[in-house]
């Protein structure tokens, strides 16, 4: 770890220790942090125990010395000798050390055989070995000068403390080692986890870059952050592939479906150029060709519109509004058309329905559904538009909440199950629809609009006829406090 750069090859080959690898850096930082905090913590413990104990010993000796000075000043060498003897006799802890010598360095009192040679100065702390009957111990001592050349040595056997100190220091050392190991291990583990995630992401994305759009990130099902990333990425991929499918469909469509009106226009023009006998015929042919070209334009426009809606950019224009007047406007537009076709038009609408979305776009979606219902119904049928709020419906994302359910039912020719599944594909038109006008983009647009609103478009049989249903989650009450007032009284 000291020279990580030595292992870092400049090539993108994944070396074992690459400092450039984010995961390794992460692990290193993690380990360093771990070790630093452990050392800091253990140092506190060290000072708290060993430091405190040593300090206590020193304090005890200092206090003792003061007491003995007093004795000396009262009773001189004899008094001091007696007290020292007394102290030694009652030293239950078996750690007191005293030595009183006279000016000739001769023993006067105490339990040390002789004046230790290394104690040369007074009033300093010394730690020195002492020979006890069972072993050699360490002692902390301090020498004091007394009048008449007497000298007093007071000490404590600190072998107990030394032991404790050894235990603590050993513990600290071991703890350091363990912590280091833990840090390295943890760092390594994190690095592995990290690499695992990153690798599976990069594997998947690489596969996708190489064209395999069906690849997805594995989801463990443990509901953790990794799964969250995986799910988010998968959703993103889902969307990308849907958009790509869209693009593919559009290009296919341009290749195939736009050809039809263009070919027709071209044929009409060429035919007129070659065979028209008079100006009127020529004009008629040209007008027809212009009509066909207009058709091309409107197809292009519809495709662009769908693409634009699918890109989701229009979501920024969402507002809160009351859906009912908006629906009534569309109904009013189509009611006349329905009647014109000999159809009865029935509406089941609530008084108010707060809705969050794009008003004009939603109207267009409903208009397209009504347009289909009228177009694919023989006379004397009934077309029903109903809207209701399902209060605790299960939404597509699993949560429960309010949903708008809007349906357009007709009693027309209906569709087969297989056709229903394909109905919202671009340019799809069922076999029976061939001789009605249209380009097969109506439901695609509806689908795009509904998806933009996070909803679903469903087709079902009405026996006879077709029910198209739009289900869109509604905003929760608490998030739209003012909707009734802002939209109803204008």
């Amino acid at each position: 770890m000291s020279e990580p750069t030595a292992f870092a090859p400049a090539s993108p080959q994944p070396g074992f220790l690459r400092l450039r690898s984010v995961s390794l850096r992460f692990a290193l930082v993690y380990g360093t942090l771990f070790i630093c905090s452990a050392v800091l913590f253990l140092s506190f413990i060290w000072w708290g125990t060993v430091g405190l104990l040593e300090h206590r010993v020193e304090q005890a000796i200092t206090t003792d010395s003061r007491a003995l000075f007093n004795i000396w000043s009262e009773g001189g060498p004899t008094g001091l000798t007696m007290i020292i003897d007394d102290r030694l006799e009652q030293d239950v802890d078996d750690n007191a050390l005293y030595l009183l010598v006279n000016k000739d360095n001769k023993w006067v009192a105490g339990n040390l055989a002789e004046w230790p040679r290394q104690i040369i100065s007074n009033d300093h702390w010394f730690t020195m070995p002492v020979q006890r009957s069972y072993a050699q111990d360490m002692a902390k001592v301090r020498a004091y000068a007394l009048p008449d050349g007497y000298r007093l040595l007071i000490g404590r056997d600190i072998s107990g403390r030394t032991l404790l100190r050894k235990i603590v220091t050993d513990t600290l050392l071991w703890a350091c080692v363990m912590v280091t190991l833990l840090a390295i291990g943890g760092g390594w583990l994190i690095r592995r986890l990290f690499r695992h995630v990153i690798h599976s992401i990069s594997r998947t994305t690489q596969a996708i870059t190489h064209g395999d759009m069906s690849r997805r990130m594995p989801v463990q099902g443990s509901d953790d952050e990794l799964d969250e990333i995986a799910i988010t990425i998968n959703e993103m991929l889902e969307r990308i592939s849907r958009l790509m499918d869209g693009v593919r469909q559009v290009s296919n469509a341009i290749a195939h479906d736009l050809r039809t009106p263009i070919t027709r226009a071209r044929t009409q023009l060429e035919d007129a150029a070659l065979h028209a006998k008079n100006e009127d015929e020529l004009r008629a042919a040209i007008e027809q060709a212009v009509g066909n070209l207009d058709n091309v334009t409107s197809i292009c426009e519809a495709l662009l519109r769908i693409a634009q809606i699918e890109s989701g950019a229009r979501r920024s224009a969402f507002v809160l509004f009351d859906l009912i007047p908006a629906l009534q406007d569309v109904c009013e537009l189509y009611e006349a058309v329905a009647e014109d076709h000999g159809l009865r038009f029935v509406q089941h609408l609530p008084d108010h329905l707060p809705f969050f979305g794009d008003r004009a776009m939603f109207q267009q979606a409903v208009a397209n559904l009504l347009d289909n219902a009228v177009k694919f119904s023989p006379p004397h049928g009934i077309i029903t538009l109903s809207a209701e709020v399902l209060s605790t419906a299960r939404r597509s994302d699993g949560t429960r909440g309010k949903m708008l359910s809007l349906s357009v039912a007709d009693e027309g020719i209906g569709m087969s199950e297989a056709d229903m599944a394909r109905a919202s594909e671009r340019f799809f038109r069922a076999e029976q629809a061939r001789n009605t006008p249209g380009s097969g983009l109506g439901l695609s647009l509806v689908q795009a609009i509904v998806q933009l609103h996070d909803g679903q478009l469903q087709l079902a049989s009405n026996a006879p006829g077709l029910i198209t249903r739009i289900e869109i989650p509604l905003p929760d009450e608490e998030t739209v406090p003012a909707v009734q007032h802002t939209t109803t009284n204008h």
Binding site: E89, Q90, D94, P116, Q118, F126, T127, K140
Partner: protein, 74 residues
């Protein structure tokens, strides 16, 4: 604080059988009849241990005996 690496440690004279006996005598010097059962038991155990060569535990018992003596006799 200075640690001096001196190889010759000073002998602690109180770690000896002699000291044991000295302590035992100190106890005796108190009024023998007034010795409480605890003190005399401690003293006996102490001297026994000393005699068996276990100076340290012996000393500890003897010292305890002295401490309790000091506490009881004014």
């Amino acid at each position: 604080m200075r640690t001096v690496p001196s190889p010759k440690p000073v002998v602690v004279t109180s770690d000896s059988v002699a000291f044991c006996l000295q302590l035992s005598r100190v106890i005796e010097s108190y009024n023998a009849s007034a010795l409480s059962p605890t003190v005399s038991r401690l003293r006996e155990e102490g001297t026994d241990l000393c005699r068996q060569g276990l100076v340290r535990p012996g000393l500890i018992r003897l010292r305890r005996a002295i401490v309790s003596l000091k506490r009881t006799t004014p």
